[in-house]
Symmetry: C2
Subunit: 674 residues, 2 copies
């Protein structure tokens, strides 16, 4: 046989072979080679005789999508000949006997997805090409390690965390009394990468756009929710999760993504942190650096306007029928890291994206990417959806007094420091939180802050211009630690800064705040100076608690002598009982060990229809158990034998969920020995 | 009765009353008062006794949407008292006997739509309010005449044309052999305004966004096509229009909009000019200045890249299987006039919007508004979809030679002046066309043009960088006038600019270009120097003609001595026979006159299943007739009695359409006497 005959093509895909450790893709549970673009990988071609560069000509070809075209970047022939340029560089690394080791560097802006690999030999009689062999399919991902890639992130710690860490922490509750919960992103789990690619297929996203991190992130922000497009997750804030999994019950993304890609129908149910967590999995899985952030007191549905309206009646009491806007106690979204060649210089870096379906100003259920730098500087004229995100962290809360005669509203108090009180995310490499408020806003009251707000107004964000006089009586509701189920005392602190006597009637409205802006009262209290505290009873709120496990109190009142309005807002986080997770036995790859989840019902009432979930990356896939009844004071113990699959540090994460008690989490850290 | 009692509220809505002539809304056929915002209108309130400003207090209230709120601008109480500020100014114009004439000025940024009107009297026992009375509903439109309105247009001729003219001209064909067709926008026809408001309802567009011209235009660009959202028009480029009306057959927008609003399902069928024409009706009807523009040689589906690829084989012949991109002979979109407070200064004015569903880079079937100024200056970083529109007028046509051995492509010729060859629109007040290419681009070859292209590249538009050497043989296919059905001679002109002998093999590929980029060959010809023309026979193209009625020829070849590639492109517009429209009798309001449409089949073949349509603003609503057969050489005459409804100059417009012959139009101008 004069011309080269191809006997074998070896993708060198095993974790102990050259490619995956160098590409930081060894953690993916996959039957295929997975590499990152803009970086060389190797494959071995075995011919029927030694390769002679002077006589023989062969190419490795990569093909993606239904109608591969060279000019579209969907058909890539890679030549190893020195005189030929290929879109992806190719070279002979080694040629021994009949085996040629080829080094191939996918272009740093190439299409991300699943490529088919062929080897072709040129003969005078035409081209001889290998047949399609699925085992040679090649996944090419974004590469935060490659300088030429638009997602290049020049910080090793951030990169490790935001691409490779499977375990996350999501913050919630109140900025001054924060809760946290672990989450298993599971981006390396078997089938998750295919599920993420399926999401783009389902969205009919053109193949040629799939190398563009901006477009991928934007498309995913639309596809993560089921609105418009039969996307991944169905939102539900009703408190009734009978026909699905309660948003508070999930412990990781894997189950959700695998369920979606196998059923091809939206998964029930999600709230903001579930959207953000699954979106995070999607981004990390494809190689785009990403993190979940939490914004405390997040404004929403304001049409890009910078105010949230609270309407008071003539006595200074909240008019619940007319107060339609609301503020979330917290809201989670994502940041992803990428350059922004579509914008002027300086707006690359972290980009905010939000997959939770809100009624954005554009009427679309997607949001971002918006440059965080642009948000900070009020440069909200650039795509995508920057005015909306700007409003989420910068809105004023405006209290209006309503004239009962003709319905007109007069602004009586403007609180400009409440919304966007704090933005936090996890510290790279540690289970600790980091305050990143300064990446979104200049300090409260600084001259820069004023300039930025003026800039945003130039771009059409409307603010309340009136500056009603400050009252000379201050009202505060100080922080308190409360366990769910406890009665507690809500303190009202008055401070009379005038030198005259002041009489105040204060109305306190306590609510569980729902996503949709509908609030459900847990009591209304009237305090008259000098009374300074109110007892909130658990029976008032326990039946109305939904997933948020925190209560929002607004105190408003009128100073009798001056007619001035005083207001104060307080979120009370209801601390839930802990779920204990323990491991026993030696944690060693391929050896069985025991995981024990324990919980004691500390309440005086029974818990019914309880779901307990547990999972751990590399240790156990998501499992759940249903307990129809946990009587008051009784305990449950669930022991499960598991066999770790992978060495290294990891976590086991568990949740307990039922209609009467949500947001109960537990975790155990462990290090699996090789 | 001590307190005022309301006897009647008169909206003064008749054309002979004060409001509609002043608001330029007298042309609307409507049972309701229609006014433009930012400008005073009057209404008369009749009480049971004279109004005493010192004692009596009343307000006129306007309400829109399902949950009216003062703070959202959906509930507007207007007081006439001097000491009260209203969001809409109110004053007493006149108070005679029991009748008060109230002047009300809707805010220049108020919500556009259908408001409900109430009058309320304040009494110590509460408010007495009139009941809902549909006849008092008030339509508030955008106002191009009001300086405070974001659509203010400071040019009386443009304003008259782009808001008030019902009759338009749409240009098509080739830039150097243009065809035109009339269109009845019909924005004042009975039911059209309600249909336009229905489109926003159907899109579930938040009421509070409906005062924002940017959002209204963007939402409508999505809703005018049926993709994603069950919008107004279904696109069809197949040539088979059996189950609907052929795109070429429509003569106006009225039928389409009324059909959509009554059936609430998409109307069949449209191509670009139908989308643009109906979008134009929508915008003019709501008061946003708008015009239809035509771009000759419009690039599309390029993912915002600045090149359209033509792949040649080794002989310089087009490789039809590998040439997937295409260029439309022409494409129509809209421009609408508005300020852009969401962008930096200088980008207000005309904004491009496109309702034709193309696969935009964002994967959404909507496009714009994009500032035409921003497109001209390459400032394509600003919303919305500027890169896509920039590519439509600025792409290069790149010819690649394909290496048959390994499939790689080498650029051999770049034609940078073909795409966006000319952009035209109608001159205000005249049936003439205006070249507005200079509003989209700097002159070809100017230093500004180069700067702009570099700017666009900075924002991520990719261009072909190679500058292959120019051939020293030039090839041209000169303009020729051809009637549909005729054989014609396609001339090839060679010009050898070298001083040596040159041999050229030229391949000519003639096609009918379809929207989707699929082309259908009408013949392939091979010319060898010095042969300089080819006969194109009607039998080659007649059966393949679709609605476009023009043929696209690309000639490519290789100079034997040098291997250089030469190319030339030519669109041949096939001129269709005229349809005669004549009126007889006196054109006078409310008096019957005769309209006669005549057509003679000039071909040697029969025309089957022919639809003839005719309509005229203020004269006759859309009517059509079906002729199953018009034999070769025979004629049809259709006479219809019509009764003009309105005085002034107008047009009657007719179309004739069948599978074998499209784009046949006729019109008659007339002036109806009062």
């Amino acid at each position: 046989n004069y011309f080269l005959d191809i006997w074998d093509v070896n993708m060198l895909r095993r974790p102990d072979e050259v490619n995956t450790p160098q590409h930081s893709t060894h953690l993916y549970a996959s039957d295929h080679l997975i590499v990152r673009r803009g970086q060389e990988f190797q494959l071995k071609v075995t011919f029927d005789r030694p390769y002679k560069p002077s006589d023989d000509q062969f190419a490795v070809e990569f093909v993606i999508g239904g109608s591969p075209q060279y000019s579209k970047g969907t058909y890539i022939p890679v030549s190893v000949a020195k005189d030929r340029q290929s879109p992806w560089a190719g070279r002979v690394v080694d040629s021994t006997d009949n085996v040629v080791t080829v080094g191939i560097t996918p272009a740093p802006d190439c299409i991300v997805g699943k490529w088919r690999t062929y080897v072709a030999v040129v003969t005078p009689y035409g081209i001889r090409r290998t047949r399609r062999d699925e085992s040679r399919d090649l996944y090419v991902l974004f590469n935060a390690w490659a300088t030429g890639d638009s997602v290049f992130l020049d910080d090793a710690d951030e990169r490790e965390e935001c691409v490779l860490n499977e375990v996350g922490v999501i913050y919630h509750g109140a900025y001054d009394d924060m809760s946290e919960r672990p989450w298993n992103f599971g981006q390396f789990d078997y089938g998750v990468l295919d599920a993420c690619l399926f999401i783009m297929d389902k969205a009919a996203m053109p193949i040629t756009n799939r190398g563009d991190a901006i477009k991928v992130a934007r498309k995913a922000s639309a596809m993560l929710n089921s609105h418009d497009d039969d996307g991944v997750l169905v939102g539900n804030w009703s408190g009734d999760y009978t026909y699905g999994v309660a948003p508070t019950s999930w412990t990781g993304s894997t189950e959700i993504l695998l369920n979606y890609s196998s059923s091809k129908t939206p998964v029930c149910y999600a709230q903001c942190w579930v959207y953000a967590a699954v979106f995070n999995t999607f981004l990390r899985c494809l190689g785009i650096p990403a993190r979940v952030v939490t914004n405390f007191f997040s404004a929403h549905d304001n049409d890009g306007n910078l105010k949230t309206d609270v309407i008071l009646d003539e006595n200074g009491r909240i008019d619940k029928h007319r107060t339609k806007d609301s503020i979330w106690n917290y809201h989670c979204w994502n940041e992803c890291y990428m350059s922004r060649p579509d914008l002027p210089q300086g707006f690359g870096g972290w980009q905010a994206v939000d997959a939770t379906p809100q009624e954005t100003s554009d009427g679309m259920y997607r949001c971002g990417p918006a440059s965080v730098q642009a948000i900070k500087h009020g440069q909200i004229c650039f795509p995508f959806d920057a005015p909306f995100l700007f409003a989420e962290v910068n809105s004023d809360v405006v209290f209006y007094s309503r004239n009962p005669r003709d319905g007109t509203l007069d602004p009586v108090k403007v609180n400009s420091s409440h919304v966007g009180r704090m933005v936090v995310t996890k510290v790279p490499g540690q289970d600790a939180r980091r305050d990143i408020t300064d990446q979104y806003k200049f300090p409260e009251g600084s001259p820069e802050e004023r300039t930025v707000l003026e800039k945003a107004e130039e771009y059409g964000c409307h603010r309340e211009k009136a500056t009603p006089p400050e009252a000379d009586v201050e009202l505060d509701m100080p922080l308190m630690e409360v366990r769910v189920g406890d009665d507690f005392e809500l303190k009202l602190e008055f401070n009379n800064t005038s030198d005259q006597a002041r009489t105040v009637d204060v109305y306190v409205s306590g609510n569980v705040v729902y996503y949709t802006g509908v609030t459900r009262g847990v009591g209304r209290y009237r305090s008259t100076w000098p009374t300074s505290s109110e007892i909130v009873r658990s029976q008032d709120y326990m039946r109305k608690l939904v997933e948020q496990a925190n209560l929002h109190f607004i105190a408003t009142g009128k100073v009798k002598e001056t007619g001035q309005i005083i207001t104060s807002m307080r979120v009370v986080t209801l601390h839930t009982p802990k779920l204990s997770v323990e491991v026993s036995g030696l944690a060693k790859v391929s050896e069985e060990m025991m995981v024990t989840v324990e919980f004691t019902n500390p309440f005086k009432f029974n818990l019914e229809d309880v779901y307990v979930r547990v999972e751990g990356p590399g240790v156990m896939p998501p499992k759940y158990k249903h307990y129809s009844l946990i009587t008051a004071g009784s305990s449950l113990t669930w022991t499960e034998g598991v066999t770790p699959r992978r060495a290294g540090p990891t976590k086991l994460m568990a949740s307990l969920d039922c209609a009467a008690l949500r947001q109960v989490y537990g975790q155990a850290q462990l290090t699996v020995k090789p």
